[in-house]
Symmetry: D2
Subunit: 461 residues, 4 copies
């Protein structure tokens, strides 16, 4: 079912409905070409006589799709307002070059499964990127943690100094947070890893197209079991991915908050790399943490993107509705902002410098109080008496060396960090992203008959 405007549609209405698609769809050009190539292959392979598309015709269309992709990469393929969206833009480009052959491509396909396929292809690419970037940032944090495993940093609860802690503990805690988020990213990747192509408008097509083989051609692990669900999953899959991205952004928002606070002059624990701060043309003393501030705020926006997509989908009846178009902007925005934040934080963390002096100065005597009371208890002093004794003479704790207190905890106590575990999880994530990237490249290269990532080769024609 190809939706087109029938009759006299008001120009204002067209602007309202075609809306942002023209601009947003620029992100989907490659995906649309790849999805179309897979559909073309399915048409050519359908067991009917005469064939829906001859093998030679399929090759010509595919070569032209590769051509469009090359032009798009070179900035020479535009979606104009008359096109409404990427699908019609690609269709027109094909028809302009191939005539009637361009028109034959759309048998057995609807704009519904076409756009859904584009979004799954796009989501796959983006999630592979997100996972790789999450792994890199987690590693940078873990590396910083290991390097500063014993560097004292007052541990806080309620924002007040509480117990001996370390920069190692602080940095690698943020690493572990991201690795937990990666579990949700993996799950979202799996949900996304299903091909809707062939589901047409949600009720399939009487044509004998092999949906599973189409899925394999695209490098997806499976086709949906049910064509109506393939349609219903539009928006819902986006919401699931955005939920996972929101988890990542929650982690980043807390890292960012720590950076804003602990680089403030009252703490001075960390110095942000110079290239990441802005100054003031009027206040020479200022060095503003704009990057972590923006990361903090972008977490709010990605959460709102997730909420928007979920809210569009909530309580929709089965089947396609135009509402779903409105999940596109939150989806693209959420992915773009999350990746921008992950990428900007990597060099920031790599360039972050702990200030040993300020860190040591942050150890008010009270930080040692609980440890001291525990020592007394282990020597047999009843707890209440130990507590009173420590409280009565907090000044006596001033002589304590933060480094010893930290060493005690990190070496013998429960605060020891399992860096091997962090490394294992980070490597697994990185490997997964790399494997999936290769899977995708292989499948798409085979489909297009050319080296996909580079598009350097020559499509068979």
């Amino acid at each position: 079912m190809r939706k087109t405007v029938v009759g006299d549609v008001d120009a204002g209405v067209l602007r309202f409905t075609a809306g942002e698609d023209c601009a947003l769809d620029a992100a989907l050009i490659e995906a649309d070409c790849i999805g179309t190539a897979a559909h073309v292959a399915a048409l050519a392979a359908a067991p009917v006589r005469p064939p829906l598309l001859a093998a030679r015709e399929a090759r010509r269309v595919t070569a032209e799709l590769v051509n469009i992709m090359r032009r798009a990469r070179a900035g020479r393929f535009r979606i104009r307002i008359e096109d409404q969206d990427v699908h019609l833009a690609v269709e027109r480009a094909l028809t302009r070059r191939l005539g009637d052959l361009g028109r034959k491509v759309h048998a057995g396909r609807s704009r519904n499964d076409q756009v859904a396929t584009d979004l799954r292809l796009y989501g796959r690419d983006q999630l592979i990127g997100v996972m790789g970037e999450t792994a890199s940032l987690a590693r940078a944090l873990a590396v910083m943690g290991r390097r500063n495993e014993m560097l004292p940093m007052a541990g806080r609860t309620h924002m007040r100094p509480a117990m001996p802690g370390s920069v190692g503990l602080w940095a690698s805690a943020h690493a572990e947070s991201l690795l937990d988020d990666a579990v949700a990213l993996r799950a979202a990747y799996d949900v996304n890893d299903a091909s809707p192509l062939g589901s047409a408008a949600g009720y399939g097509s009487p044509l004998e197209l092999d949906r599973k083989r189409t899925a394999r051609r695209l490098g997806f692990r499976r086709a949906h079991a049910n064509v109506l669900y393939a349609s219903n999953s539009r928006g819902k899959c986006e919401a699931a991915i955005l939920s996972a991205l929101a988890q990542v952004m929650l982690s980043l928002s807390r890292l960012a908050e720590d950076l804003v606070l602990y680089s403030a002059p009252e703490f001075g624990y960390f110095e942000l790399p110079a290239g990441f701060c802005t100054g003031s043309s009027i206040m020479p003393q200022k060095s503003n943490p704009d990057v972590p501030e923006l990361v903090r705020a972008k977490a709010a926006r990605v959460l709102a993107c997730a909420a928007a997509a979920a809210s569009v989908v909530k309580s929709l009846p089965s089947g396609y509705h135009r509402d779903l178009q409105e999940t596109k902007d939150p989806f693209l925005t959420g992915l773009r902002e999350t990746r921008a934040c992950l990428r900007v934080m990597l060099p920031l963390i790599r360039g972050l410098r702990p200030c040993r002096k300020a860190l040591l100065a942050g150890f008010a005597p009270g930080v040692f109080a609980a440890d001291r009371a525990l020592e007394l208890v282990l020597r047999g002093v009843p707890f209440r008496a130990a507590y009173r004794r420590v409280k009565a003479d907090l000044a006596a704790l001033e002589a304590r060396d933060p480094r010893e207190a930290v060493a005690l905890r990190m070496r013998r106590g429960t605060a020891r960090i399992d860096f091997a575990d962090l490394r294992r999880r980070e490597s697994a994530l990185r490997r997964f992203a790399a494997t999936e990237r290769r899977r995708r490249d292989r499948a798409v290269s085979r489909l297009l008959g050319t080296e996909y990532p580079s598009l350097a080769g020559r499509a068979r024609a």
Copy 2:
């Protein structure tokens, strides 16, 4: 405090921080020029010797600002990536034409109060538009209601036919909903109607600038009592406006849902104007309600915009933070989408045709059951007996005429619609919007020395 980048800021960081501002700020060019003109007037009027700006200088700057506005309207003023934002773009344009005089303009001002002023000016313009459009749509719904006051339409609860109702009741209920939303719009307008100009970076300036007079020059009813709050209100005022817009969108989402449902063939109560539907190139029977579907979904997006702005602001400490930049996109998007929905619904409602036959056919006999039981009760039959008697012979109700049932309720009973009240509230809203528009035009025209809305006149120079 004018934030500029000091030292070696990474190009990637610049892209991250300047972000979307280049594109978004195109909406703020006029506001920035008007705000700058008011600041120039304040500098010229400051009671210091020598004057911060001579009267002649002020006129030259103002004339140049008008010139920029004219170029912007003609599409000949662009914010380039090197400008970062509208403020620097305008500043550079001034300096290019006026040399050092262009640079003098910024004494006693910070980018913080500058952008806050732009947003209040922009918000005022937009809210005047929203209020006018809300009034128009409410009137169209009330007019439709009055015209079809007695046209029967089965009243539903739980989506099932329940009691006699009318198209008049249905349409004017949506009108009243919008008029209730207008109360929130008015409140948001009042909160927005305060000038932050002169608050500088939130701590004022030692210069003797008269903030209240500046407010009057801009046509605002007041300046903030407290310069720190003027700064803190950034983002918060946006969140308040978006909350009010979200109320409007909730009303529109319900109207849209009704339109999707009741124009479906199973009901057929209304026929959407042809220009507002899309067909299908493959299914000749289809007429899809894309416009109401998109309105329904855009309600989700505006709600998310409100959530995003609130979430950015929540728990921020006092004073400016770069986080606030991230409220700009939700603010502009929320206003744009709400207005697009209000505007597209107006001709849709005006062209909506009730289908009498289908409406009458929707009166299953059960719709009359409660009324019939009440008749019996009023004649002295105990309620339980009346209920049993009605239930035993529902078929007897088939002979009833929906028009009589409706007339009974609308004329004598409690369902009578107070159209005069709706009209009164709608007129008050329209008048308020018109009055505020004139207030603004007068103030801005005086400030710029030229007829503002048209910019047709010639600024004094």
Copy 3:
């Protein structure tokens, strides 16, 4: 239309549907009695022969309703699981005492307009409370601000010291924020100030009940113009009120964040009253700001309550749906939490002690830099040269006295606080709340025939 369960409803289903109502409805007992009294008066006044309810009967029912209210206040009226909700609990209590007369009360009313009326009555009471408490907290902050108008406190942007500021500026900024929120509270109050009683199931009743007079009896300023909208406004009005409460909570979250930060030992600007902190049984040095931390988090919850109510209502078709029941918990929770926060913050602010020494120590020399550069500029030094000169010798600024810098800004510059304006707005808010409380008391006392707030008098029987 009185919804009851017909046929064999599964016990699990009953638990699912009656749900939380039993517990939640305890808050609505008085409102339900008052609403019922107004309906009784309307029945007695209806212009039909024989009367729907004799005057003497109406007085008996009203007296019994007062009796139920007295029992509820004494904790002797419970809503049991068999009652399902407050409406059936009150109905059964009436019937138990008055027999058939108790049953006659419900003619011309539906559970739909009954619960809507209860919620509007409850919302009115709560909003009057919220407005009064907002005024009190705003006053406490303004009073603190005026008392410490000149007490220096480094003004910050990006969390870093930026410019001279004062405790007066800080405290009264939070006051003004709350007064801005009061505008939204007023608007929500106005939207809530309409009587749905008489709208029955949303399609009115053929009985000649005077909805406007009923509204006056309840002390509402108006009845809805349209009975279907009276029904549709359920949930929507709750969402509007919750939006306004969310504004208040945003203000409180920022005040709370400031309190958490500036009472931390690294700042030490404020000392929270002892009764508002918790210590640690093991760390004698700890004094934790639990109250502001909880306020900060409760802002998140109230925002979520507003989102929940809006999301339930979004895209619902016209007419009653059971979905609306799910707005009750967010509505009651949002009101309860907002009021708890406002109330707990009042003594906290009154007991907050600024620490002069720490505040003065917070003035790093850079805080004076911008002012110094401005001085040079006013003496004719070109800005760039002035900036370089100040930057080259920041140490020279160490001798500056924060008090003088603050005095300059607060007395001559733009940072002067308009306390009179704050006082005017705060008084207007307090007066409005008091006036509305009296309006309500008068109306309800007349309706019940007894002194309402105390229920001390004796209802006419």
Copy 4:
């Protein structure tokens, strides 16, 4: 670090801070006892002389914990207001029975890791339940789908009849949706499957407690790599679980919407089981779909719970903050409501009856139009001509049999449902839930020295 109130805490403040915990914590009694038993075992096993707890002492405490669990199950263990929360209630109960031994239990533990452990244990139990219930509902839908694989049901897009579809397609699409959600549930389960016990206040303890062995004792797959992250994960893990639940609720909201619509008299496709509808005491014709309406609305509430938890956590600095307490109510509510919805939908779906007659009547001729045009195209008619021919004679399609159209698609075309895949995924989910339940039971039984699920055995003492 055990937080207690030191000094004169105001009674109102206590009510504000202890808040809802008393009521909410009733859900955590068993978890608190199990967590405490694991900590006791860790103390007894710590490699220090003298032992922190003798083996015999550990057994006595464990036996008493089992005793508390038994009393709680019998409704004889209450958390009183003086207890503040479950932790102090259990501690006091231990001390009452065991004197000083009860007090020794808390060495090396903080209320922070204690509550975090309780929530992970509780979350694990609940998620096992959610997964099992999701599998059951998915199976019921798949079974309904398979039984009605060929039963025609007009497929819709934009709510309008579009193409031939079937009840099989409809029901099993909802099954697949739930199975996709299960991927997110599994991921949330994995994130939750980590023991925070031993992390104390987030900075560990100098005591040599083996956190990994503690994790194994509790049946968790791992301990956190980093104690600070163990603390930071509080709230964040809850947000992740709530996100997954929100996915489930989105699926249920769409199923519910379909049920509300398609059981309405205008469609009549399905008859809801009688026990799941409510009637009206005044309108004998009514049968209201209250259950699906509430499910639809509860989706809004669970989404809001997820938003609340995320919003509390967003931008919190590292380390414990009292804010986190406010994630408890959304967490418990989200789990409770999701499970209630899953459970109530199971018998509803099992009892749902498709109405063949109404389903067939829903096939307007247009539903066959696209298929007919395709037939012509396959016979060589150019598409435009085929389209015109079909459109010109829609009436000719009236003779078509929906059953044949459906059979064509479901047997030969792409709409064939892969029931085996659904069955495989549903079984895997069910097996996973069962396996995890057994793992938990084995671990907890070993830890308590008694048969856990029944608590029938006798703890070693």
